[in-house]
């Protein structure tokens, strides 16, 4: 008897009996979130590499490392979610091509390879320097990483930059593809009214940029404080502009999507309204509240053009707000979609568990992974372009 009330998500109205177990949990909430952070961070590095916007020079390589470290962890929530994780490679070995999900392994592997290559080209000069200046085992590691190429002549470096630019050019449609694809996994499901939208890939992509740039701002400010340097003013202005533009577009498109649902007024639209008023009310409030707050602050900054400490502090607040707003958005989409019953006659309420394989603890562990990896990566390959991080005088030489 007690099992029913323990396991089942409480519901109102009528839901199909099998629906009372929510299939995709908080792990699937952070999967698109982590992938989104990758896409966002990558966009910033591309703005420097491809479009040559010098403003982003100081954060470009850090953004690249951030994208790589988060990408390593993007498949992890899926792995923890699988009922049979040992069969995780089956879609790679024997893919069933009509499934959107079958492509994930290929898309993700392609992207990891691309990021690894790009990082190598972006850091090759540093690796060669480090292989000459380090001692002990690290010297061997760096030497191995040069892959036998220690030519750092201006001609060779020019070639590096060219290749890095080509890779970043491939990476831009790649990042759009990776994240648009995640949106497609949800948007292509005709059974769920809350997901089934042609705008879903665009919404996922743009909110990814918002959260990714937000993450970069937060990390850049924190690392600068930790390293006791002032964040680059020009970079912050550039990030402010990117953040403002992408936030404006994503908010308009999200609002349009909601409007479409209600304007079309298809069967069950009233239940969608109940969903927003009920199970995801808190999530929607956080998502829209923080987004509009950040938009107000960013718009004010666009007009008043603050500099220095004021700019950094407000950008930090905006970045953090938008990171939280996008988590809430992912929750509202992933969990909200499943809380709306396929019967369109009922609503479920999902309560995440704290312990267990699929729980908030797992989420916490998986989400701390990229940060720890990024810390180690920045120790191994310092991405900073300022004099402080180049004791061997490389920065001075430039």
């Amino acid at each position: 008897m007690e099992r029913v009330f323990d396991l089942v998500a409480p519901y109102a109205g009528y839901v199909y009996p099998n629906e009372t177990e929510i299939p995709w949990t908080e792990l699937i909430v952070i999967y698109p979130y982590i992938t989104g952070l990758v896409a966002g961070a990558f966009v910033v590095s591309s703005l420097h590499h491809v479009f040559g916007i010098e403003r982003f020079k100081s954060v470009s390589r850090f953004a690249l490392l951030t994208a790589l470290c988060f990408m390593f962890f993007a498949p992890m929530p899926l792995l923890f979610h699988l009922g049979q994780p040992t069969r995780a490679f089956e879609p790679l070995i024997t893919p069933h091509w009509t499934s959107a999900m079958a492509a994930f392994g290929y898309v993700a592997s392609f992207y990891v390879c691309l990021l690894l290559l790009e990082v190598w080209f972006a850091f090759r000069e540093d690796i060669v320097h480090l292989s000459k200046t380090s001692k002990g085992i690290m010297k061997k590691v760096y030497r191995a990483l040069t892959l036998g190429s220690d030519d750092v002549s201006p001609k060779s470096l020019e070639l590096d930059h060219k290749i890095a630019r080509i890779l970043a050019m491939i990476g831009i449609p790649g990042a759009c593809g990776l994240h648009g694809y995640v949106g497609f996994v949800f948007g292509s499901l005709k059974t769920r009214e809350w997901w089934s939208s042609d705008l879903m890939p665009i919404i996922f992509l743009l909110s990814a940029v918002v959260s990714g740039v937000g993450l970069l701002v937060v990390l850049y400010v924190i690392t600068s404080k930790y390293r006791k340097v002032t964040p680059d003013n020009e970079a912050m202005i550039g990030l402010k502009q990117v953040l403002w533009a992408s936030l404006c577009i994503v908010l308009v498109i999200e609002a349009l999507e909601l409007l479409e649902i209600f304007y079309k007024g298809r069967e069950g639209w009233a239940m969608v309204a109940e969903l927003i008023k009920g199970p995801i009310w808190a999530g929607m409030s956080i998502q829209w509240g923080l987004s509009l707050f950040a938009l107000t602050v960013l718009s004010t900054m666009m007009i008043k053009k603050p500099n220095g400490k004021q700019l950094v502090n407000w950008m930090f607040v905006c970045g953090l707000s938008l990171m939280v707003a996008v988590v809430a958005m992912r929750w509202n989409v992933v969990i909200g979609g499943q809380e709306l019953s396929k019967t369109m006659k009922g609503l479920l309420t999902y309560y995440p568990s704290i312990w267990g394989r699929e729980s908030l603890l797992t989420v916490l562990m998986l989400f701390s992974g990229p940060f720890i990896t990024l810390y180690l990566a920045t120790q191994f390959l310092p991405p900073w372009e300022d004099a402080k991080s180049h004791p061997h005088g490389k920065a001075a030489a430039h």
Binding site: V4, P17, P23, G83, R192, T343
Partner: protein, 298 residues
């Protein structure tokens, strides 16, 4: 074992010596024996210390069925086109089908895993919309005091009811199944005889199919980490028997047969009734036909 050998065995054991009962008869007898033994076993195994019911397949039996599936030499899946019908006006909501399904297919013994269920639609006096519930409703479970035995409670006894009816639900074995479309490993597939099957050796439990099914008939078996759903008792129909739910239905509300046979129960059902399918707008082309379904049924 061939169908012929099976028949001979049945005759040898003396369960049924009446040859004229033929194949179906043998099926009924076997099922009846199975269900009787299930019931008595269930009672034996129902004591407090052993919560698992006796008819639940254990892990060893499950592995055996995967590694050494029963041979069906005389079955050619290209020669059949199975289909299923539900006569809504005949269903009395006795829910024997649900219990038979759980026993026959060893479905998980709780309220949120069902391969088939029955919905109750009630229009109260003057109401425009029906109130719907199923045996998985906590009030119904509380009324029976068990998640393995099913009965609708009598919650409307003091209300004035305009109209009420029961609607059995199960897998629609769609012609264009969205579960098959989204399966990343190809573990779930459409057999030529019309049934959508799951190869649990390939399923990796991503639950995308559960999301994609418009009818909510799929669920995850958490112990096995793989998806589950109704397969019209494939192990029975390939031997010429009816699915368990059809077999136990006392009113003939559930109809099953081969569309290739013009005189099969399902062919006649579709011919003699104005039938409809559920959620046709999904484009899944269901293979489950309803006669007398109300506008509220979806």
């Amino acid at each position: 074992m061939t169908i012929q050998e099976q028949k001979e065995n049945t005759e040898e054991t003396g369960v049924s010596r009446r040859g004229f009962l033929g194949l179906m008869g043998a099926g009924v007898a076997t099922t009846a024996v199975a269900l009787v033994s299930v019931d008595s076993d269930a009672n034996v195994g129902n004591h407090k210390s052993d919560k698992k019911l006796a008819f639940q397949q254990n892990e060893a039996q499950y592995q055996e069925s995967l590694n050494n599936p029963p041979k069906i030499p005389n079955y050619d899946w290209n020669k059949h086109k199975w289909s299923y019908g539900v006569d809504v006006s005949r269903c009395i909501g006795c829910l024997r089908c649900m219990e038979a399904c759980k026993a026959e297919n060893s479905v998980q013994e709780d309220a949120n895993h069902h391969r088939t269920w029955v919905e109750r639609y009630v229009y109260l006096d003057g109401a425009e919309e029906a109130i719907v519930d199923s045996p998985a409703d906590p009030k119904n479970i509380e009324n029976v005091g068990s998640e393995t035995h099913f009965r609708f409670d009598n919650r409307y006894k003091d209300e004035k009811v305009d109209k009420a009816f029961f609607v059995p639900k199960l897998c629609n074995q769609c012609e264009e199944p969205s579960c098959v479309q989204v399966c990343p490993t190809g573990a779930t597939f459409k057999a030529p005889d019309g049934v959508v099957l799951i190869d649990t050796n390939y399923c990796f439990g991503c639950q995308y199919c559960i999301q994609a099914c418009p009818y909510g008939v799929r669920s995850l078996n958490a112990q096995r980490g793989t998806a589950e759903k109704c397969n019209w008792c494939y192990h029975r129909i390939t031997k010429g028997l009816n699915p368990a739910c059809v077999e136990v239905c006392p009113t003939g509300s559930r109809v099953f047969g081969d569309l290739n046979d013009k005189n099969s129960p399902i062919s006649l059902f579709i011919k003699n009734n104005q039938v409809t399918v559920l959620k046709s707008e999904m484009g899944n082309k269901p293979n489950l036909y309803y006669a007398g379904a109300d506008k509220e049924v979806s």
